[in-house]
Amino acid sequence: MRTGLWRFALLLSPAPLSAQLPADLARERADYTAWLTSSPISPLAAIARQAIGAGIRLGPPDADLPLDGIPQHRLTVRGGAARLEAPAGGRTVPRGTPIRLGPYTLTVDGPVGKAVVTAFAPIRVAKQPAYYPYQPSLVFTGPLRPPERPGTVRVLAPDGLEVEAAEAGTVVVPIGGTRVRLRVLRLPTAGSEESELEIFFRDGTNGRGSYPAGRFVRLEPGPDGRFRLDFNRARNPFCAYSSAYSCPAPWRGNAIPAPVAAGERYEE
């Protein structure tokens, strides 16, 4: 009867349910908090993102991307390479590599033909992410069922950049007294063999404690061919930290009627 159904991981263990934050999750959160509150390209530091298109002006107040104290620059993409031109000369901006411009940091990302520049300023308020109390009952293990319609789809990744993702399948989890089917996409990482199995989901806490647009949670492969889905690891898309980022549109399905009071919270 329960074949293929995701089960509470801890029910497999004779140990009693414990609400203590596991050490690995505590470390993971500490690393993320350190990055979020101190990295020059943290989403908390993002002040603007702009499509480059045929070219944009940066600097003066009337520029496409105004940057206080920066004289006029022009950013163009030709033949896939971004170039930042200033009165004193120009320089190439490699994709995905931060460059400095006065007090600002710039990155150019996105697929060819759809390159975007993101501008970062020193973080004003290093607000730490907040989390719901740890919920051991919201950790599941189980199989990943093959997708009904294999193929690829263009979606926004957690950082608001468009990627070609692959339908990876579905998982079925028991939450709030019902079985919920969740769609899983494999999101590639630019310039790498690495990718992530992600679920972008909405639930009953959205706008009432968690981010209104929904949250991401990874599906983590285990050594036995099964997968772990830990809602305590649910995290906000970058648009929750800065309006510079586009929010991903909700994925078809993936609406959990019950509240998932676990993982990252959102406070206005």
């Binding site: 470390r27 993971e28 896939g80 590639p188 990718s195």
Partner: protein, 395 residues
């Protein structure tokens, strides 16, 4: 009584033994354990170390030991391993930073060396593998052999190899790893009958299943000469500054009437490091008969001062006797745009063979490094045959 207290206090506060020596290290990936080795040593109060995949080692850029804390730095990749010592074990994490957040993988180590265990003959040799992911299927080739420290080998794709893998064998199962501070690769598999099945793990969580059968000799990968095409009707054109800022183009007198190898490379590219010594040997062997080589560097920052320094280091490291030009940045699309006569350029390194009339005769995408064994030797023979053939043509 007092003496007893002194003894207890000394035991409590005595520092852990120094971390010098050999360590069996592991990264705990979601799908399995990635084994590698660390060698740490101290000389005149200064710690240094090496990170090894089997017999292939690379120096760590810094080793810091402070009490029970050990920090190993790999500056080229802005990566660190930080760990706490507890007796004869280390536990901590490998970290580097990406644009989407920190990349953290659990690390642990214990004193000693990995046992060198030879693999059975049934596992050795060349295998044609097919990787299957949600993005589709793609071919790879595995080369397995027994080295002085047990099973080793490499994995080859359409555009080159993934470097040296080393690992362990247990019964009919194996785990081969390549960890250089940036790339985190683990190949696990099991031989059943005449078929190998397993997973390729990249980073903490990416797992791609594969199936492999013994190579029959029929090409499984796309030939490196089929990947990148070229306009062969006109002389191949390039014009970039050299490391002293002087413009150099195909019209430079040193290339007139010569057979020219254009090496499209980057100092950041490990496979290019494998190719560089081969190019030096080819240059020394054939330069007197009319071979020239020019390296086009596609670097990381696009800042000529920074990139120039990086390429100068590369030139000195390999003693490259031919000119290196700063051609652009290492974005494949951007690089392709600087060489419009190439079609389908996808791979660093790529080697363009020009005849004495300056036109493209062959484009070889990628390079089989020494880790590929026979592939490497065969590639050198192919390059030599092609050069001999082109040198024999009349200008």
């Amino acid at each position: 009584m007092r003496f007893g207290w002194v003894v207890v206090a000394a035991l409590v506060v005595s520092p852990p033994p120094p971390p010098g020596g050999s360590w069996r290290a592991v990264l705990d990936l979601a799908g399995g354990m990635l084994p590698f080795a660390l060698e740490l040593s101290e000389a005149k109060g200064r710690w240094e170390g090496r990170l090894c995949n089997g017999r292939r080692c690379q120096a760590l850029s810094a080793v810091r030991v402070d009490g029970d804390s050990v920090v190993l730095e790999m500056a080229d990749y802005a990566a660190t391993i930080s760990a706490a010592r507890r007796g004869d074990s280390l536990a901590g994490a490998y970290r580097n930073v990406g644009n989407r957040g920190p990349r953290v993988i659990p690390f642990r180590a214990s004193r000693g060396r990995w046992p060198a265990r030879a693999a059975p003959a049934a596992l050795l040799g060349r295998w044609d593998a097919t990787f299957t992911s949600e993005f589709g299927s793609s071919p790879r080739v595995f080369e397995f052999r027994n080295g002085p420290q047990g099973l080793e080998g490499t994995m080859i794709s359409n555009t080159g190899d993934y470097g040296h893998f080393a690992g362990a064998i247990r019964g009919d199962s194996f785990a081969l790893a390549h960890f250089d501070g940036s790339f985190v690769y683990l190949l696990t598999g099991r031989l059943k009958g005449d078929t190998l099945r397993g997973d390729f793990h990249a980073g903490l969580r990416t797992r791609t299943p594969w199936v492999a059968v013994r190579s029959t000799g029929t090409p499984h990968l796309k030939a490196p000469t089929e990947i990148t095409g070229a306009d062969t009707t006109q002389p191949f054109r390039f014009a970039f500054p050299d490391l002293e800022g002087r413009p150099v183009s195909e019209r430079d007198p040193r290339f007139a009437g010569k057979v020219v190898l254009v090496d499209i490379f980057g100092s950041w590219c490990p496979t290019c490091h494998d190719a560089a010594p081969v190019l030096v040997r080819l240059y020394r062997k054939y330069h007197g008969r009319g071979l020239e080589i020019v390296g086009l560097a596609y670097e990381v920052t696009g800042d000529s001062a920074v990139d120039g320094a990086q390429v100068r280091r590369y030139r000195e490291k390999f003693g490259l006797p031919f000119p290196l030009l700063l051609a652009g940045i290492n974005d494949t699309e951007a690089a392709a745009a600087t060489l419009p006569q190439l079609r389908g350029f996808t791979s660093f390194p790529s080697t363009v063979f020009l005849g004495r009339d300056g036109r493209v005769r062959r484009v070889h995408a990628g390079f089989y490094g020494p880790a590929t064994g026979r592939q490497h030797e065969r590639l050198i023979r192919e390059f030599e045959r092609e050069i001999e053939r082109l040198l024999a043509e009349s200008p």
